[in-house]
């Protein structure tokens, strides 16, 4: 194949210049801070921060709520993606474009909008108040904000997977006598599972680190509704850099774990799809 050779011996100019710019910018912007962070962690004491009950409960709250939010997103996102791909109805194009809103809106704006929406006495908050409970300023508020911020990840990873489903499989299942429910559960759903998992892990990773859209609706009571990113900010304001770095390290490890998982899932999905095509 001729282009194999061309890729190994590039004839286009500019390799040295562009590589130089790329490496030095990434070095200054990404590698330098990460190196400073690692040496700071390695030199530091600060690991005792982990045993403070306040820190422990914040980390547990962040990871737990993010997991719950990813699961809620999986259910809601599945319905939304399915309907947007499979059905036509007036306003579908508009809704489809709107799915990206949580990406496009600044997090602080989302935060105050969601808080006003669910706060006692206003908008939806007034309705839930009549029923005797409030969503804002509780752990439910944190969950709502995390679901909001993660929803587009699930929808956007599922949409192409649903659109690319080989339709002859469903036909085959139907012609062999399977009802719609069996067809969905045994044929359609398993082939969408990799995409669903990828979307969920993206939503989880985003929710763990999310700050702006959560702090307004969370209430921020220590031990109860204080998320890990907020605790990092509080530690930084108290000049407790070691404590902040340790919490950040835990969150970075969680993100890294998610990144590795996503890559593994993605490879699995690609291999699976290539297998299905062949």
């Amino acid at each position: 194949m001729p282009f194999r050779v061309r890729e190994r011996h590039p004839t286009l100019p500019g390799f040295g210049l562009t590589l130089g710019i790329t490496v030095s910018y990434l070095g200054a912007m990404v590698i330098l801070p990460l190196a400073a962070f690692t040496t700071f962690l390695a030199s530091g004491t600060g690991w005792s921060t982990l045993w403070e009950p306040r820190v422990w409960s914040a980390i547990r709250l962040s990871l737990g709520s993010a997991l719950a939010a990813a699961m809620v997103d999986a259910v809601l996102g599945f319905v939304v993606a399915w309907v947007l791909v499979r059905y036509t109805f007036p306003g579908r194009g508009f809704l489809d474009a709107l799915v990206d809103l949580p990406f496009a809106l600044p997090t602080a704006v989302s935060g105050i909008a969601l808080t006003t929406l669910f706060a006692p006495g206003s908008w939806l908050g007034a309705i839930t108040e009549q029923w005797g409970f409030s969503l804002a300023y509780t752990r439910w508020g944190i969950l709502i904000a995390m679901v909001y911020i993660g929803l587009p990840f699930v929808v956007r990873t599922l949409q192409p997977a649903i659109a690319d489903l080989p339709s002859d499989w469903e036909e085959a299942a139907a012609s062999l006598g399977a009802g719609p429910i069996v067809t969905f559960w045994r044929v359609t759903f398993p082939s969408l599972r990799p995409a669903l998992l990828t979307g969920m892990s993206l939503a989880f990773a985003r929710a763990v680190g999310e700050y702006g859209s959560i702090i307004f609706i969370a209430g921020n009571l220590p031990h109860r509704t204080e998320i890990a990113p907020l605790l990092i900010v509080i530690k930084l304001e108290q000049y407790d850099y070691h404590g902040a770095a340790v919490i950040a390290a835990i969150m970075l490890l969680a993100s890294l774990g998610i990144l590795v998982t996503i890559n593994a899932l993605h490879n699995w999905q690609l291999r699976w799809q290539e297998g299905s095509v062949a």
Binding site: Y87, A97, L117, T183
Partner: protein, 326 residues
């Protein structure tokens, strides 16, 4: 055969363009699933139920927050709205946000173009590591980004003491805000441009090279026209994110009123002072920028879908005559 397999796997690997081709699939009335569910009354009920559920989910999570922003902004009338966005502090925030954004977009566009060129035109050792490094800022919490910058440029940081001696202050000042924003928006331009450069290939560039064009001529006359829409979309994404970045900037800004308070920080400040109408008035400006991004994204998606579909047709034609390529 191998080639046709490659173009089949092209669609799922482009997970960033979710709308790719599905309008055609769903408009097709003879789809087995649609037929299966439409035929029975249960199917029609299910279909209606699912559509209503979707409307409910998207209504509560996406439409209502939008409505809240504008309704609350105009709750006390035009005068309060205008006063809120035209007072000196608000104008200072707008000025700061715009200058930070201009700088970040310029830096990240220059970096994005050279990184995309480097990563899509050549294969070399460490290429995948660079790609991972570029994606890294997307998976780091904004608050942690702020912490990282403090560890480098803070008073006790690696470079903080040296810079202080030269009289340059980074943390709690303008440079810190720019660095935080640039870090967060680093991948946006590269990703868009690199993806398109890879799909477009390098044949035309190589032809230009053979005809004697130098590097800049190739880039300006051949590559730039091909990638200009991706570049524009990347720049718009970068602009919107720079204007709206909250967490990372919040950590390194120091919240000095009139000096280091960007637009999102100003929204937070007003909100925490219970000036809700003013907070939402300023927030409505940022929301407007977000909505523009959505419109541009939708237009861009249509464009790339058309292009991809056309590209795939060509590939299929080529693949159906395997003898011709030998």
């Amino acid at each position: 055969m191998k080639q046709s397999l490659r173009c089949l796997s092209l669609a799922p690997s482009r997970s960033t363009s979710p709308t790719n081709g599905f309008t055609a699939a769903s408009a097709e009335p003879s789809h087995p699933y649609a037929g299966l569910t439409q035929s029975s009354p249960v199917g029609i009920l299910l279909r209606l139920g699912l559509i209503l559920t979707t409307l409910l989910i998207l209504g509560v999570f996406l439409v209502l927050p939008l409505v809240v922003v504008f309704a609350e902004a105009f709750r006390q009338g035009w005068h309060v709205y205008c006063a809120a966005i035209s007072n000196p502090e608000a104008l200072a925030a707008v000025r700061l946000s715009l200058s930070v954004t201009a700088l970040c977009v310029a830096i990240n566009t220059a970096f994005g173009l050279s990184a995309a060129w480097c990563l899509s035109k050549y294969r070399f050792f460490g290429r995948n590591a660079l790609i991972s490094l570029i994606d890294l800022p997307l998976s780091i919490s904004p608050v942690v980004v702020g912490l990282l910058l403090i560890l480098v440029y803070g008073q006790h940081g690696w470079l903080g003491a040296i810079l202080e001696r030269w009289g340059v202050r980074v943390i709690f000042a303008f440079p810190g805000i720019v660095l935080a924003t640039a870090f967060v928006t680093l991948p946006l331009v590269v990703r868009e441009v690199k993806t398109l450069m890879e799909t477009e290939g390098s044949e035309e560039e190589e032809a230009a090279r053979l005809l004697g064009a130098n590097g800049w001529q190739i880039f300006y006359h051949v590559t730039l026209p091909k990638i200009r829409w991706a570049l524009l979309y990347g720049v718009i994404l970068c602009t919107a994110r720079s204007l709206g970045e909250f967490g990372a900037v919040s950590v390194v800004s120091g919240h000095i009123r009139g000096f280091t308070v960007t637009l999102p920080l100003y929204v937070e400040l007003l909100y925490n002072e219970y000036q809700f109408s003013a907070a939402f008035a300023v927030a409505s400006l940022l929301t407007g920028v977000g909505l523009v991004t959505l419109v541009v994204k939708t237009v861009w998606q249509h464009r790339i879908n058309r292009k991809l579909n056309r590209g795939q047709d060509c590939l299929f034609e080529e693949a159906s005559f395997p003898c011709a390529s030998k």
